[in-house]
Amino acid sequence: MGVAAKVNPLGLTRDDYKGLATTLCAGCGHNSITNHLVKALFESGVDPYRMAKMSGIGCSSKATAYFMERSHAFNAVHGRMPAVTTGAALANRQLLYLGISGDGDTASIGLGQFCHLVRRNLDCTYVIEDNGVYGLTKGQFSATADIGSVQKRGAVNELETIDIAALAVQLGASFVARGFSGDGGQLVPLLRAAMAHRGTAILDVISPCVTFNDHAGSTKSYAYLKEHDLILQELDFVAHRDEVVVSYPEGESVDVALHDGSVLRLRKLGQQHDPLDRLAALTVLDRGRQSGEVVTGLIYVNPEAVDFCSREHLPAAPLRDMKEAELRPDRQRFAELIASWS
């Protein structure tokens, strides 16, 4: 017997957050994201029985099978995970909804649903495993491919890219971040903060496709990211129950208080980016787009935004648990209603 495994406040080990073995390619960025997710879920002590894993169709959407086996999962149709998640959340708003999507699933076939999910600010975490190509259908460009990016067989993308993060900010998203599958130090706190946020948290994670989009000329390759990752901040996620472990000299860090009492501590790097400033968020993304830098970190957050179920005045108790007494008016009220129709 080895050393007892580290447990989280729920008494679960990191292994308890694992799922089936991946069927994605070796070296796929998505697998790294899964590992970072397992770490984030474990560290945040997410209750597996409170989690619902949602996805659409594509390589990315398969990933919900590779973590948290004890949670229900729903692999929906292509581009339609937002609607299914919305329905599920209306039925039971007490669960934590974690959506895993891809760039095709989100920026092409599912762009409409993505936009409307963001507009509604449904309480969920929405991770886009963004590699700029369609993997399962063998390497076509997706709508997040950068202009000028080169396909494996040499074709050049001549169409403008859809910047999911910028789009989300423009649509009024309440939490927008971008990460890189190769930077767990940044991604894990972002994931934890996204899950702590109340509202739609959009996390666009650049995740190189080793089979179809990791060559020279691609702007979504490991090599490109290593050279062009413009990191906005150093991040520490401080759960409310933990003591603050890192402190920075005054003026060098900003704390963003999240809905559940946790804090995302941002340490400024060279960038003077204020993630509470929407205009600044759009500006920093557009500068990156022009310079070819991939801007990563917390781009925008509005911790005060009202989530959809609250806006719909739903009770805290799940609608799905309601019985006849709560849903069906009694005989007298029914009779009064019918009488009012005569």
């Binding site: 039925a91 849903l327 009779a335 005569s342």
Partner: protein, 617 residues
């Protein structure tokens, strides 16, 4: 037959839509209803906000027939664009009320019409200074004129006004004044001729005037729907609107403002279907209401719900297709499409309400069935049933608790060695499910539209796939008895049988009573659901010749029956097909039967010579 017992009047109001004629027409409808006279109103309206022709057919008949009639006994002509064509609709001896400014109506002197020119525009201009208001009140003036011609009592009009403008008391005086304006103009300037009149009856005790869509909304409320997602589309939008107002009244906690229902206007029908399915998966009773184009968009999601076995209810208020079609006209055009909606092999339970009360009870039943059978369930109504007012008995209070189907909670899982989501343990094809959020290590499973085995594991296995598909077929077959079975009323010694479904019932019932009065006895089977149960084969077996009445071009129900019943039986069926966008009327059925019986060499001479039938043709 005395004049009163035989009373059957069809009033046709030809107006321009967007002019507020609906209020005037509803006041007339409610006035007749208040007099105890059975009414059957049919609103024939264009897909347009303002300016195109619209007709309101208001039939008042002592026999209580609920189908409409085409020809007018009285026409109110307020649309210049259709003036002469509308006048041609008036039966001999009928009445024409028209806008004097339209000029000579060019009536056929042989028709012996009573004609009443009224300067509606001029009267309104003199009485109302606000031009917007004037447009609306012009129509209310004809209510007064018609009331004078037909002898409608003041009390009935006053009660109709109060009902129509309930909640808008400020509108009451000016509308009342407009009606009075019409009455006094008539009394001072015109002389009543002819014998057309409405006599008070006492036949509407306990009856209501309701729209089918209102009944669907009430069914959703009483059936425990707690997530309703929709996208606006004629003729289904009023389901959501009615449900919203019902919920404001009956699903809100007055102390906290909390709502025990989510009604979400989605970005399109794809999203609406997705929300319904997500909510059904998570354990809420969820549904949508849409029409043909919406059903088309929902096809992919419905396949997912079928294959992944997710309770969901789809109400389709059918309109004329294909494509945009005639969005404001009625049709039973989605039957075949809905029955096997989506790619691959699918089959869905279809409920076919034939009345307002059934629109209500079948919606509740659909919510039960969806959870019991774990599958998408369709309720196919149509524009005629959904958007017109129908005289009806009050919807009954539901006697049964919700059927939530096979759901395993923590307690049930406690005693189990394993849980497999798609394993049929009791032979009815239905496997138990768990809901997300169930606190038990066995509870979780992976829901997917891709190939899976009994344990919900991904597989492309050539053994598992047919096993799953066969179980899905068995699941529906074993649930057929739960669906509403056909309703049969067969006369002894019937010469032939008639099969119909949905909103055709009123017209078929009336046609049968006309045939019966001519001594022609018929059998009648009204199909109320698909897949077809054993009663249909039995009915076909007992009738040598059967007419199947449908409101579509291709005989969609016949196609379904052909694919599921023995050819020897379906070979007895001849289609009566009606698809001009108008609601089905008895004359459509009678005319078709007359022609087809004549084609067989059997001349229904009595049918041709009978004056009563002639009139309804």
């Amino acid at each position: 037959m005395d004049e009163i017992a035989g009373m059957d009047l069809n009033l046709v109001m030809a107006t321009v839509n967007g002019s507020g004629s609906q209020s005037a027409n509803l006041v007339l409808t409610r006035a007749l209803f208040a007099m105890g006279v059975p009414v059957a109103p049919k609103n024939i309206f264009p897909s347009n906000i303002e300016g195109l022709p619209t007709w309101f057919f208001l039939r008042a008949n002592a026999a209580g027939h609920l189908a409409g009639r085409r020809e007018a006994d009285l026409l109110v002509a307020l649309n210049r664009a259709t003036f002469h064509q509308d006048v041609a609709r008036i039966l001999a001896g009928g009445v024409l009320v028209f806008e004097q400014a339209f000029g000579d109506p060019q009536v056929d002197p042989e028709a012996h019409l009573s004609t009443y020119p009224v300067p509606f525009g001029k009267l309104a201009k003199e009485a109302v200074s606000d031009p917007d208001l004037r447009k609306y009140l012009t129509n209310m003036i004809y209510v007064g004129v018609v009331a004078e011609i037909l002898g409608l009592p003041e009390k009935a009009l006053e009660s109709a006004l109060a009902r129509q403008f309930r909640g808008k008391p400020r509108a009451l005086p000016e509308n009342r004044a407009a009606i009075e304006l019409g009455r006094s103009y008539f009394k001072e300037n015109l002389t009543r001729s002819g014998s057309l009149a409405v006599h008070p009856l006492d036949q509407n005790k306990g009856k209501l005037l309701l729209e089918g869509n209102q009944a669907v909304a009430l069914g959703a409320l009483m059936g425990g729907c707690s997530v309703f997602a929709w996208y606006p589309i004629t003729p289904s939008s009023s389901v959501a609107e009615h449900l919203t107002s019902l919920s404001d009244r009956l699903r809100v906690d007055p102390s906290t403002g909390e709502r025990r229902i989510a009604i979400v206007q989605a970005e399109d029908e794809l999203a609406a279907a997705g929300m319904v399915i997500g909510a059904g998966w998570a354990g809420a009773r969820s549904m949508t209401a849409t029409s043909g184009p919406g059903i088309s968009l929902m096809a992919e999601f419905v396949g997912l719900a079928y294959f992944a076995e997710i309770p969901s209810v789809f109400v389709d208020i059918q309109r004329v297709g294909p494509s945009t079609g005639l969005p404001t006209r009625t049709m039973q055009g989605d039957l075949q499409f809905a029955y096997s909606l989506s790619h691959g092999d699918t089959r869905h339970p279809i409920l076919l309400p034939g009345s307002v009360v059934e629109a209500y009870t079948f919606t509740q039943m659909a919510l039960d069935l969806a959870e019991r059978v774990q599958t998408p369930v369709f309720v196919l109504s149509d524009l005629d049933l959904g958007m017109n007012l129908w005289m009806t008995d009050p919807p009954p209070y539901p006697e049964q608790p919700f059927d939530r189907g096979k759901v395993l909670g923590e307690e049930e899982l406690q005693g189990m060695a394993k849980f497999e989501r798609y394993r049929d343990l009791d032979g009815d094809g239905i496997a138990a499910r768990t809901l997300p959020g169930t606190r038990h290590p066995l509870a979780a499973y992976f829901t997917r539209g891709s190939g899976h085995d009994e344990a919900a594991r991904y597989t492309e296995s050539e053994e598992a796939y047919p096993r799953v598909m066969d179980r899905l077929r068995r699941k529906l077959d074993s649930a057929v008895w739960r669906l509403p079975q056909p309703e049969e009323s067969t006369e002894e010694g019937a010469e032939f049988g008639i099969i119909a479904y949905g909103s055709s019932d009123a017209a078929v019932a009336e046609a049968r009573s006309a045939l019966s009065s001519l001594g022609i006895r018929t059998g009648y089977l009204r199909i109320r659901s698909l897949p077809p149960g054993p009663a249909i084969a039995s009915f076909l077996g007992r009738h040598q010749r059967v007419y199947l009445v449908e409101q579509n071009r291709d005989g969609q129900m016949l196609q379904v029956l052909r694919s599921e019943l023995a050819p020897g039986l379906t070979g007895r069926i001849q289609s009566i097909l009606h698809y001009d966008g108008f609601p089905l009327f008895a004359a459509d059925v009678l005319e078709a039967i007359r022609t087809m019986e004549a084609g067989r060499g059997v001349r229904l001479t009595s049918l041709e010579s009978d004056a009563a039938v002639e009139r309804t043709r």
